[in-house]
């Protein structure tokens, strides 16, 4: 049985129907190149436009290369919208960074934008870290925000080894106890909270009707967060696919792998944080003023587009500033 290897049109990003111009680019199995070439030539010769000129303008029913682009909505920050086009619906978006890199500010801005659009949002807070005053200052509609606060005091239920939300323990993954002795207690707490996060996420995705679901894993240790199986992220992505729900994950390091459609890195460079003094004059430096004359008015955030499956554009970065609620 002879065979010919022909790259799919989708992979090559070309129209489904062969045309005369694509003749030379078709590759064949090296051992059967002679027969293959004839077969391909026959196929090209026999392509529909040459058979019947009336079919030259026919649009094929299956446009494998043209997957519908997801709808983009504003993230609440103009610079991010300019960088990425906004946040995509029906996709998983990750934003990661270290402490004080602006992750929570971006998260609250996205929630505010979503509630302004009239959508219902859910925040699954793994560390119970949400600040009510920050939420109010961000002008988030509190009636449309569901807050799920995970904690260590929650009832612990073991669901068995076959639970899709079960986090494999360090021992099961082959890690020795010595490596985790110094953070054993914190790791155990993180696992318990992660299990709550994943189970709550499953339930909310199944329930549906939310425009934005945010998983706040910013305080979860990376080694604990990385134990979430990729199959879980794949399941979450499939759950929001073809739906108007956005799934946003806030973390310290990327953990969803290829399941995320948009990956953004935030940071505040150590030498470029911006703190303005309220009474600083031109010839005074900020450090010379007493502390009671100093005021934190905002942070300068650097955001970099690491990966985007939505548009093939080179990595870019932008800077934007956040404003403290008391800065006016």
């Amino acid at each position: 049985m002879s065979s010919v290897v022909v790259p799919t049109s989708a992979a090559l990003g070309r129209p489904f129907l062969f045309d005369a111009q694509s003749e030379g680019e078709v590759s064949c199995h090296p051992e059967r190149s002679g027969k293959c070439a004839k077969r391909v030539a026959r196929a090209v010769e026999g392509s529909l436009p040459s058979l019947d000129p009336k079919l030259a303008g026919v649009i094929p029913a299956s446009r494998l290369e043209a997957r519908p682009a997801p709808e983009m909505v504003t993230s609440g920050i103009a610079e991010i919208d300019a960088l990425t086009g906004g946040l995509p619906r029906g996709c998983l978006t990750e934003i990661y960074g270290t402490a004080s890199s602006g992750r929570t500010s971006v998260m609250l801005a996205a929630l505010a934008a979503a509630t302004r659009r009239g959508e219902y949002c859910a925040l699954i807070d793994a560390s119970d870290a949400l600040d009510p005053q920050s939420v109010a200052s961000s002008e988030i509609n509190l009636d449309r925000l569901l807050w799920v606060r995970c904690s260590d005091d929650a009832p612990k239920k073991s669901k068995g080894n076959n639970s899709p939300t079960r986090i494999p323990t360090a021992a099961e993954l082959g890690f020795t106890s010595r490596a985790f002795d110094f953070q054993k207690k914190n790791a155990h707490e993180s696992e318990h909270r992660l299990e709550q996060v994943l189970r709550a996420t499953d339930l909310l995705l199944e329930s549906g009707g939310f425009g934005l679901i945010v998983l706040d894993l910013a305080e979860v240790l990376p080694q604990a967060a990385r134990r979430i199986p990729l199959t879980t992220w794949f399941r979450f992505r499939r759950a929001v696919e073809h739906k108007p729900t956005m799934l946003l994950v806030v973390e310290q390091q990327p953990i969803a792998g290829s399941c995320s459609s948009l990956l953004l890195r935030l940071g505040v460079l150590s030498t470029q944080y911006s703190v303005l003094s309220s009474n600083r004059s031109a010839d005074e430096s900020a450090s010379s003023l007493p502390s009671h004359a100093q005021l934190l008015t905002g942070l300068e955030i650097h955001i970099e587009l690491i990966r985007s499956r939505l548009e093939r554009k080179p990595a870019q970065s932008v800077m934007f500033e956040t404003q403290a609620a008391w800065a006016g």
């Binding site: 801005a109 009239g118 870290a129 600040d131 609620a325």
Partner: protein, 544 residues
């Protein structure tokens, strides 16, 4: 025209409504104190086996196929309420004649519900959905309809003026209701005995008697009965203003220990309650489940009946006995408050199951009582261009499940309190109201994006830190619990003093600092708090 709904063999019908599985078996109902329990009602299958009212329970137990059930006032009350609901779903003028009989005034209903035959058919089918099989009769006056319902099974329609023809063949016993008290039974027995001695067996014969002679022998009562037999009685209905009570109950012969069989019974009760609510075009926003638990074990009836002799009088012994009796069945009550009026038995069952899983009764269950608070059903007009919203029923189930995972008070919406306390908020119920057009701008343009607020991430509880002071100001800090929170203070702003609730026990007073702390190559921004009352230093959160 008037309609009558009559449930024959009412105690049996009430038991079958609570346990539909018994319909395949012969059933007999008994009551009384042991060992003198007597059969008071039997169904047709049991009658064919030779079981009759008046037999003792011991005699009836000789029949192995027979299902014996104790008479339950609760179940009869629920059945009667369902009967009223069925009638009131067709006519606003309903008379509660007896526990097993209701009369409806169908005046003006034909233009809404169709012909009287169609109304009768619809009544019958509605009654079947509510769990009982009645006799339906329609006549030009209420008493004729009542007699026809008692005498004929199934659906009977008597045209106007044909009452005597249709009712003539009925026995005189239909003139008296089945459920009578002692005095009424004696009077009925006396009158029936007299008519029987005269050879009057049916209503046609009674109607043919001379009125004067009848009144001389039986008085006004006799004349009234003759009027009924002639189908000529005219009276107005006394409408019932039944309170909107939707309750269902079931008493158990054997206590239930597991939640799974309880769910089976709850499902049946919920379906009955929802059917009754639906017949009134109502929904419910609150369900109340009361379980009577078997608390005391090992205490037999001899001890309870004998009582405890007292030095002063018997009242102490009586109180002790009644306390024992009342405490033998403690009540376990759970209330389910719904955010919106709903009418879905499956959702209610799931919510009750989740609630009972979180708060188990802790003792065997002897009795189940379920009541629903009626409410107007919600009306919502969905829009094509409105943003999606969670379905209320699904959302309520989801929130109940999440509450079982994280805790009841840890899921919901945020509500800020009118206080300067840093943690001045509380959790309230999250309700996804029907989306409606708001005057808010909903354009998704990026031009609508506003400046991002510098957010704070809180540590709950706040992290205790050791702070090195330099000239009274923090210069270095170190946290034992979180290694990342340590380092040299590069920049600081503050202190900002705040205090409050000095009149309360939970008074607070603190100094706040905003710090930039270097830890290695990273710089983080923290809010440092000095508790002026307790004297400790805490990192309250990170600016992120």
């Amino acid at each position: 025209m008037f309609a009558c709904i009559y449930i024959p063999n009412f105690p049996v019908a009430a038991a079958l409504r609570a346990e539909p599985d018994l319909q395949a078996r012969p059933v007999a109902i008994f009551e009384g104190k042991p060992p003198l329990e007597k059969i008071i009602a039997v169904d047709e299958s049991a009658a064919r086996l030779g079981i009759a009212p008046g037999m003792t329970k011991a005699q009836a137990e000789l029949c192995s196929e027979l299902a014996l059930r104790l008479r339950s006032p609760l179940q009869e009350s629920s059945t009667h309420a369902a009967l009223i609901d069925c009638a009131q779903s067709f006519s606003p003028c309903v008379e509660d004649s007896a526990c097993d009989t209701v009369l409806l005034d169908l005046a003006g209903m034909e233009s809404l519900l169709g012909s009287v035959a169609e109304i009768a058919r619809a009544l019958f089918e509605r009654a079947l959905t509510l769990g009982f099989k009645p006799n339906i009769a329609v006549a030009s006056n209420s008493d004729a309809a009542l007699l026809a319902a008692r005498g004929f099974s199934g659906i009977t329609v008597i045209p106007a003026g044909k009452e005597v023809e249709h009712l003539g063949a009925l026995p005189v016993t239909v003139l008296f209701a089945e459920q009578l008290d002692a005095d009424q039974k004696d009077e009925a027995g006396h009158l029936l005995g007299t008519l029987d001695r005269w050879g009057i067996r049916n209503l046609r014969a009674l109607a043919a008697l001379p009125e004067v002679a009848l009144s001389e022998r039986l008085g006004q009562r006799g004349l009234y009965l003759q009027q009924l037999a002639r189908g000529g009685s005219l009276r107005t209905l006394v409408p019932v203003e039944a309170p909107l009570l939707f309750e269902e109950a079931v008493e158990l012969d054997h206590p239930i220990v597991l939640l799974e069989p309880l769910a089976f019974l709850l499902n049946r009760l919920l379906e009955q309650v929802c059917s009754r609510l639906a017949s009134r075009a109502l929904a419910t926003q609150e369900l109340c489940l009361t379980l009577a638990l078997s608390n005391l074990t090992g205490i037999d009836d001899d001890y309870l009946n004998a009582g405890i002799p007292s030095e002063s009088d018997g009242s102490v012994a009586t109180q002790t006995t009644s306390q024992i009796i009342s405490s033998r069945q403690t009540k376990f009550t759970r209330k389910l408050s719904l955010p919106l009026p709903m009418l879905d038995a499956k959702v209610f069952l799931k919510l009750l199951q989740l609630d009972l899983n979180a708060h188990p009764p802790g003792a065997p269950i002897m009795q189940i009582h379920l009541s629903a608070e009626p409410a107007r059903p919600r009306s919502a007009q969905g829009g094509l261009f409105l943003p999606p919203a969670p379905e209320p029923e699904k959302l309520e189930l989801t929130l109940a499940r999440i509450a079982g995972i994280v805790g009841e008070d840890r899921v919901g919406a945020l509500e800020l309190l009118d206080t300067h306390h840093p943690e001045g908020f509380r959790m309230r119920r999250f309700v996804a109201e029907v989306a409606r057009k708001t005057p808010q701008k909903q354009t998704p343009d990026s031009s609508e994006a506003q400046a991002a607020i510098t957010a704070l991430r809180r540590f709950r509880p706040p992290l205790r830190v050791n702070v090195m002071l330099e000239n009274g100001q923090p210069s270095r800090l170190n946290c034992a619990k979180k290694k990342e929170v340590q380092g040299e203070v590069l920049w600081k702003a503050g202190p900002w003093r705040s205090s409050g609730d000095w009149w309360e026990r939970d008074a607070w007073s603190r100094d706040e600092w905003d710090l930039a702390v270097r830890n290695g190559e990273a710089v983080s921004f923290y809010r440092l708090v000095h508790d002026l009352l307790g004297g400790g230093w805490f990192i309250e959160g990170t600016y992120d």
